[in-house]
Amino acid sequence: MNSTRKLTMAQAISEAIGQEMERDPTVFVMGEDIGKYGGIFGATGGLLDRFGPDRIMDTPISETAFIGTATGAAAAGMRPIAELMFVDFFGVCMDQIYNHLAKNTYMAGGNLKLPVVLTTAIGGGYNDAAQHSQCLYATFAHMPGLKVVVPSNAYDAKGLMIQAIRDDNPVMFMYHKGIMGLPWMAYYEGSSGEVPEEAYTIPFGEAKVVRPGSDLTIVTLSQMVQKSLLAADELAKQGVNAEVLDLRTLVPLDRAAVLKSVAKTGRLLIADEDYLGFGLTGEIAAIVAENLDTVALKSPIKRLAVPNVPIPYSRPLEQFVIPQISHIVDAAQQIMKTRVTEGAYA
């Protein structure tokens, strides 16, 4: 019997972890302030009381040591979950993440399984400035060896987290603070929602059409899904029928879903909260540009993302660089007004 309740994304994540910990004694969690505090963003709320300090382990501020410890424990048969409090801190431990956790399976010719989930908080919008507001998922997706999961809502977060814990490979699980449903940070209502009590999984690599449409495709992810849905409502009022595609995972990436939607609409807007250059928006645009023999574009592609500046602190500055609902609406309208040149058939 499927019973559902409304959960925040934080609750959905901690529920998923708790259920897997009950099912599998090799699952445990390490990180800073994940015990009594329950995780700064609530991803491990309530778990210490249920599982005790041997399985919910507060660590020293030693990300290199404890993420490397996760790798070593995984090689020895455990299924660790390790939390990097903010993705922005990756630079103190990237070597363990990237040269080891991500590559060891390959270098071992597939003879080694490293079932580690790295959870981390991403995103801005609450004025936490340049060292605490980034998304950086493209940085992790650029480098082979990590699966990269970026959920936009509670339902997906639970299913994707259970999938991540059961995966025999390293998974980065990146949750945007502004959709966690925390009691101390504004969030988009759409990110909380009905979540089954039972454990369930959502396969990686399946993007989801969260709003069907015919005039243009908005490819997006994470909090930007919530913004894009609100922008699509506004666009609908203005007579533009936008399709919104939630990527959900970047590695694996559902290229087919992007192509299918753009083949239908002929127009593509990519709405992203990571940096513009050399990142997600480029990758999605390239997928279409590589397939112009089968997919026809009516308008040039447009990309919305942070315009290659660090995230500034001051509210008007931050609101300017992080794409807002109004920016999405404006960009979509501009796309509707522009046409590709006919010179292509010269």
């Binding site: 800073e32 302030d33 015990g35 009594k36 505090y37 700064i40 507060d58 660590t59 020293p60 501020i61 030693s62 290199t64 040591a65 922005d88 801190f89 630079g91 103190v92 919008g125 609450y126 004025n127 936490d128 400035a129 340049a130 060292q131 605490h132 009691p183 101390w184 940070m185 504004a186 969030y187 315009p307 290659n308 500046v309 660090p310 500034p312 602190y313 001051s314 509210r315 008007p316 500055l317 931050e318 609101q319 300017f320 660089v321």
Partner: protein
Amino acid sequence: MKASKETLLWMYEKMQEIRHYEETMAQVYLEGKLPPNIQKGLAFDIGSGPVPGEMHLAAGQEPVAVGVCAHLTDHDTVVGTHRPHHFAIAKGVPLDAMTAEMFGKVTGLGKGKGGHMHLFDPQRNFSCSGIIGASLPPACGAGLAAKKLGKDWVAVAFFGEGAANQGSVHESLNLAALWQLPVIFICEDNKWAISVPKDKATSIEWVADRASAYGMPGIKVEHNDPVAVYEAAGTAVERARRGDGPSLIEVKTDRYLGHFQGDPEVYRPKDEVANLRKNDPILRLAAQLRDAGQMNEAEDAAITARARQRVEDAFAYARASAYPEPRDALQHVFA
């Protein structure tokens, strides 16, 4: 090195200023963040109000900042932490521009781009960072530059006891000792790293005992006392200025407030702060100055009033300043 009357009075006044700054900020920070003016269902909204974002305050930790900075000039470098106000104020960073920065105003130290964890005052060689353990490497760089330029400038890196287990700390201590850099490393032990107590993070009791692993002096300041800090720091600063290399000092201090404002502090014993406050270093220094006949009541009142007035003025300045233009966000990625 004994503190002169002038130094004691300077430390006292700065501590008053810091305390009043932090307490004022604690209030101002709440503006606009509470129901009913925020999203329904929230208890608090970190992104609202005139000073949004995280806010780490240092009330109770004044001694470490003033006891060290009393030895420094503008030429000397200080690199602070995510909890930077007490250091900045003691180092002489202008209160107006610092406060305006936290209000996100164009008159701020960083024109509103940096925020509370990123206060840069190149004129006074002050900076800080929101990354734990990140203060030490650039302090080594300032020390190295002084050496190369043939100056007797020193550099101070502050870090928390929680930071002591970051790799950057180890690498920097070794480098500074190896190259005999004029750097003073100050570990500020306020017992907590967010919710994690020192003994759940550090395998030995005193971080200062790690100094021997690098062949540098390790100095313990056992009480949250500005005079004790002043004396310990004096030795280390002199040593560094003489060219005799770095020192590591650990100071026991007290965090009166939450890790950040809004911290529910579920992890903290209920009566801890009340007990800590009984040992308030500002009250103790005031009593000491009075007992020694170095400050009478009228002088105390004048000092306190001056310190408070500077804080009031700074907040007024910050409030009155303008926001940057949104498009200014695109400037200053490069110098």
